[in-house]
């Protein structure tokens, strides 16, 4: 019942969001529903941590340490982004640029996307997991177009076509995976269950598993924004409303990467435990870091800059997974760090975009002078994103780098250091004028209220605390999740 509750709350909220007759009423309903889903999720995570995996629906749904950890990250991003949506659309409401139809469309799709992402997290069936990813794509495509324009349509079309093709590849991989299992070893009911596949991995056909893995990696990797399949990402992230960009970058990419993670122990076991699947992850990770670094240097649009940071950080996470050992632990830790930091950076970019009336960084100067809270938000989040200590991103990146050094992957170490150094220089060159430059004379000051400060300080404090101290509960869940990935 616990897992069903996680799915039913957002679905019910999405429907209820169609009832209120005012924009604020719809937004309040959405926030209440997301918060309730957060509470239900918190209880489910507690059950997993205290008593082991939870199962439902003939084992088709389950929650173990790996999925519970990702669920926790997702709910944190969702709750913060939902409150930010109140703030962000509140400004648009005052400017009469956000109407009841917008509110109903946004909140309905927002809650439905939460249900779809939760389905990915709680699915033990690899077919249902795929349906969750596809549903997420279709629902979020229309979240991009809350405010319709030519650019938004362009971004939306690219997102739909590229991700749909990617997800079709993932489905091809899913089918090949099932075909890799000898017919005698499975009954039709549990053929697609991940727990079954892990148990029976050594009976799978290695050749078919390898073919399936390539399709899955390219397919889910497209949705995760890994280079060179990342082309949709900068457009969609930059043209979506800021709360949607925060969700895209803060968790939606991770949801697809989570799907790849699920296959790792099965593929590794089926191919003889030689680490065959990890080599590909290292390749995609390193390529993502290099490509993102090149584009970050020449960005003018703030949200596009942050989007390329997402390509870089998803690359770092993928690289950590590929390195194994402490790299796996670092990659999972980096997932939380990046999600929190990127959520904050898109919040700040969104509010500063509203204040400046543009996302062009050549005009966005002196953010601190116009809005102290959001100026601090963008500066601190950019500093954290480029890996400055004592933010926790520094710690997780250090763990991944250590895994590369320990494993003797010299080329990877060089690529990692070159890529992150380029990003450091490029992003810092943008961050300084963004925070302290001379603001344009025609832009008015906009100080924030309590909620503005809370939305900046909560992620920042967590990132700072985790940089110097890791709670034993978090360490425990990261260890458990890492051991699941290692099979």
């Amino acid at each position: 019942m616990t897992l069903w509750t996680l799915l039913l709350i957002p679905v019910a909220t999405g429907i209820l969001c169609l009832i209120p007759s005012s924009e604020k009423g719809v937004l309040r309903m959405m926030i209440a529903g997301v918060t309730a889903a957060g509470a239900a999720g918190g209880y489910a995570i507690y059950r997993v941590l205290s008593g082991g995996p939870v199962y439902a629906w003939s084992n088709w749904l389950f929650l173990d340490a790996l999925s519970a950890y990702h669920l926790g990250v997702m709910l944190l991003v969702y709750i913060l982004s939902s409150f930010f949506a109140w703030l962000y659309f509140g400004v648009e409401l005052e400017e009469k640029n956000f109407h009841l139809s917008h509110a109903k469309m946004f909140c309905g799709l927002w809650c439905a996307a939460l249900a779809a992402m939760t389905l990915i997290m709680v699915s033990n069936n690899i077919g249902i997991m795929w349906i969750g990813v596809e549903a997420t794509t279709l629902l979020t495509a229309f979240l991009i177009r809350i405010h319709l324009s030519r650019y938004v349509l362009e971004a939306m079309w690219k997102y739909m076509i590229i991700c749909s093709v990617g997800i079709a590849f993932a489905f091809m991989g899913t089918i090949l995976f099932v075909l890799a299992m000898p017919a005698s070893a499975v009954s039709s009911n549990d053929a697609l269950l991940w727990t079954h596949l892990v148990r029976e991995a050594d009976k799978l056909s290695p050749a078919l598993v390898k073919a399936a893995y390539i399709f899955l990696l390219v397919g889910y990797g497209t949705k995760a924004g890994l280079a060179p399949m990342h082309n949709w990402l900068p457009d969609a992230h930059s043209k979506a409303p800021a709360p949607v960009s925060a969700l895209f970058s803060g968790f939606m990419l991770n949801a697809s990467l989570y799907c790849i993670m699920r296959y790792l122990p099965v593929v590794d076991k089926a191919t003889g435990g030689s680490g065959w699947p990890l080599t590909f992850l290292m390749g995609f990770g390193a390529l993502s870091i290099i490509i993102a670094a090149a584009f970050i240097l020449f960005q003018r649009d703030l949200k596009r800059l942050l989007a390329y940071h997402s390509v870089e950080h998803l690359g770092i996470i993928t690289l950590g997974l590929g390195l194994g050992g402490i790299g796996t632990f670092g990659a999972l830790f980096h997932t939380l760090n990046h999600s929190l930091c990127k959520t904050l950076s898109f919040f700040a970019a969104g509010r500063l975009g509203q204040i400046f009336g543009t996302q062009d960084m050549h005009r966005m100067k002196g953010g601190m002078k116009l809005s102290r809270v959001w100026g601090i938000g963008i500066l601190a989040s950019l500093l954290a994103l480029i890996g400055i200590a004592p933010f926790s991103l520094f710690m997780s990146e250090f763990q991944i780098l250590k895994a590369a050094v320990d494993g003797g992957h010299i080329l990877i170490v060089v690529i990692f250091l070159l890529g992150t150094a380029s990003v450091f220089v490029g992003a810092l060159a943008h961050a300084i004028p963004l925070a302290w430059g001379q603001p344009p004379e025609d832009v008015e000051k906009a100080e924030g209220g309590v909620m503005d400060y809370a939305l900046v300080m909560i992620p920042l404090v967590i990132l700072l605390v985790l940089g110097v101290w890791m709670p034993s509960e978090l360490n425990q869940v990261l260890q458990q999740a890492s051991s699941i990935l290692k099979g």
Binding site: L153, W157, M160, F171
Partner: protein, 211 residues
Amino acid sequence: MANIFLVLVLLTNFRILSSSRMAASIYWIAVQGVLLGLFALSAESGGPSVEMVGVSVTAIALKGVIFPRLLFRAVRDVQVRKELKPYVGYVASMLIGLLGLVGAMWLGAHLNVPIVGGNPLVMQVALFSIFAGVFMIISRKMAVMQVVGYLAMGNGIYVLGLGSFSQTSFLIEIGVLLDLFVAVFLMGITIDHIQRAFGHVNSHELRSLKG
């Protein structure tokens, strides 16, 4: 009988690859959908099970009737109804299609996939349909033609899904079909928006966002 339907599916892919007219492409992808529904009925050796009949009827209804109607509806106000200058010309498309077919035949025969009934043609047609679909998406400028390519690719995956039907479940197969329905429905709405905003459905012009 199943092989006849598979060969016809293969031929419809060539017909779509060679077509410059939107209406003809939508028509032939609908024909392909009906053929796939009929293939589902003939795929099992001892006659179709109740579940397979359900999958077949759903496939014919969605792929043969509803998807084409959605696409025709999306392009009803479009002025230019022919793709005159695709990225890759039609003769070249056919030649590349032939190369793709040879590759699919070779790969299908060598992958050694345990398809139900042991029919290697299932894998070969599936691979060729996926290739033809992806090629359409890459090589065509018109948004509608890209959706037709997406459907052809989806049809290829559907053939493979049917080939492994005894090992997967009815629920997943229907779920995938419904998912495809939502995808095409939303793509249709987006094409309509693009037509209103730009006055055309040429995705080649959707290139303002760069870098």
